[in-house]
């Protein structure tokens, strides 16, 4: 959506379908024909563009109106607006949920298929033991050989299936010129401003001066950061602090530290948090951190954590730096 389009939507004569709370009785009348009313102050408005009717898309904006008047009456109004950040966040989260359900399905199928390998292995092993117990001219020795080779065929069918069912959603994104870690963090933190406000969370970012550039797809880096920050917000009580640091280590690695003052992770659970389908949340898919780790590993990075129950959790992300 270009800026031009936003302007036309805000222009009275071309206003699309509006579900705005600024068309109320207690508003100023700016103009009679065609009528335009505004209410002063900051509001959230939702605009559905006429040309978008088929797709029923609506965009949320945070607007701020100031009416300018003098003794003769209203001269006009001054309006500023920006796309509402959490609307953007919701969109990203929706995408993430869709992504996760596809991965869940694939992962589930793959892990069931994988489990077949254990019985195949024990059957194959016992057959080898049986094979040794027969004399060379015993017909049964030949039968056992056939069973073993058929089992091996079964195993290669499983491997073929597994390689076709591999998660292509976790494949590395297209390599670009690199992604700025600081800028991406700032962008994601901006998405969460509303969430921070709701829980009165103070989010402090502390970055090294040099711009940290990593060869990670920006969309995937955003997904990782949303996962981790969302987890932190959910784990924290009202008024807690979140600290995000980004710095270079040995000029080769970029470290991102996300430290919350949340409920922490039980010592027994620390080893399991990256396992698929492990979740302590009521509605968690158990895939957020699994996917996060997969993506990071794809880029030759790593993720680890420190956590104390009742005090909080710190996640450390390491990515190879391309420049700083």
């Amino acid at each position: 959506m270009g800026d031009e389009r936003r302007h036309s939507a805000m222009n009275s004569s071309k206003l699309g379908k509006c579900n705005c709370d600024y068309f109320t009785q207690n508003t100023y009348t700016i103009r009679q024909d065609p009528p335009l009313y505004v209410r002063e102050g900051s509001h959230r408005i939702l605009i559905g563009y006429e040309d978008d009717e088929a797709s029923s898309n609506a965009y949320a904006y945070d607007v701020d109106f100031s009416v300018i008047e003098d003794a003769t009456g209203i001269l006009g109004c001054f309006a500023t607006y920006e796309e509402a950040m959490e609307a953007k966040l919701q969109e990203l989260q929706k995408k993430k949920a869709q992504n996760e359900s596809i991965i869940a399905e694939k992962q589930m199928a793959a892990s069931y298929i994988h489990e077949i390998k254990n019985p195949i292995f024990s059957i194959r092993g016992f057959l080898q033991i049986l094979h040794q117990s027969f004399n060379e001219d015993d017909k049964r020795k030949e039968y056992v050989n056939i069973i073993i080779s058929e089992l091996d065929r079964m195993n290669s069918l499983i491997n073929e299936f597994l390689s076709k069912y591999k998660d292509d959603s976790l494949v590395k994104g297209e390599g670009e010129d690199g992604t700025s870690v600081q800028k991406t963090i700032e962008e994601v933190v901006a998405f969460f401003q509303y969430g921070f406000k709701l829980k009165n969370i103070t989010c402090k970012c502390d970055f090294s001066n040099d711009e940290l550039i990593v060869m990670v797809d920006k969309e995937q880096l955003i997904q990782i950061l949303i996962n981790l920050i969302q987890n932190s917000i959910e784990a924290m009580k009202t008024g807690a602090n979140l600290s995000i640091k980004a710095y270079a280590k040995d000029k080769t690695m970029c470290i991102v530290e996300i430290k919350d003052e949340g409920i922490g992770i039980r010592q027994d659970d620390i080893n399991k948090v990256f396992n698929p389908f492990f979740s302590t949340k009521e509605n968690g898919t158990g895939l957020g951190l699994y996917i996060t780790k997969k993506i990071i590993n794809n880029y030759g990075g790593s993720i680890y954590l420190e956590s104390t129950e009742g005090k909080g959790t710190t996640f450390y992300l390491e990515f190879p730096l391309i420049s700083c």
């Binding site: 254990n118 195949i120 292995f121 194959r124 092993g125 491997n159």
Partner: protein, 139 residues
């Protein structure tokens, strides 16, 4: 010479029993464990020379368990077995000083021969072990 002591850690009952059978037939003294608690107990009490570890155990991953077992018996040797040929996992096993990585289902007689080699040659350092990748064997 005292018989070489092997500990098998796998949560799959019949896999454990089958490997036990093969290794006893090959002359080893064999202990088994299904989880990290049992494994730690065996290492403390019986001081096995080598541990065969499944990578994916129910309560812990095999690589973390190896670090734990090494903190009890620092010279314990390790060979990993796994249903998956994940390259990252194989690298990790190497980095933790494992002597080999076998992908299930593998040839148990070859496996037994490999363990006999370890027990007689005193193979200790990484790099000389046996590494399976994508179905093939990398020596």
């Amino acid at each position: 010479m005292q018989s070489y002591k092997v500990l098998i850690v796998d949560d799959e009952y019949w896999v454990k029993i089958m490997l036990q059978e093969v290794l006893i037939n090959s002359g080893f003294t064999v202990f088994t464990a299904s989880d990290h608690v049992e494994a730690v107990e065996v290492v403390k009490n019986d001081q096995p020379d080598i541990v065969i570890l499944d990578v994916n155990l129910l309560d812990i991953d095999g690589i973390s368990l190896l670090s734990r077992l090494k903190s009890i018996k620092s010279d314990i040797k390790a060979v990993f077995i796994s249903g998956s040929s994940d390259a990252g996992c194989i690298e990790m096993a190497k980095a933790h000083g494992a002597l080999g990585f076998f992908i299930k289902p593998f040839d148990i007689l070859e496996f037994a021969t490999f363990l006999i080699e370890i027990s007689t040659s005193g193979m200790t350092s990484r790099g000389e072990g046996k590494w399976e990748m994508n179905g093939g064997t990398v020596q």
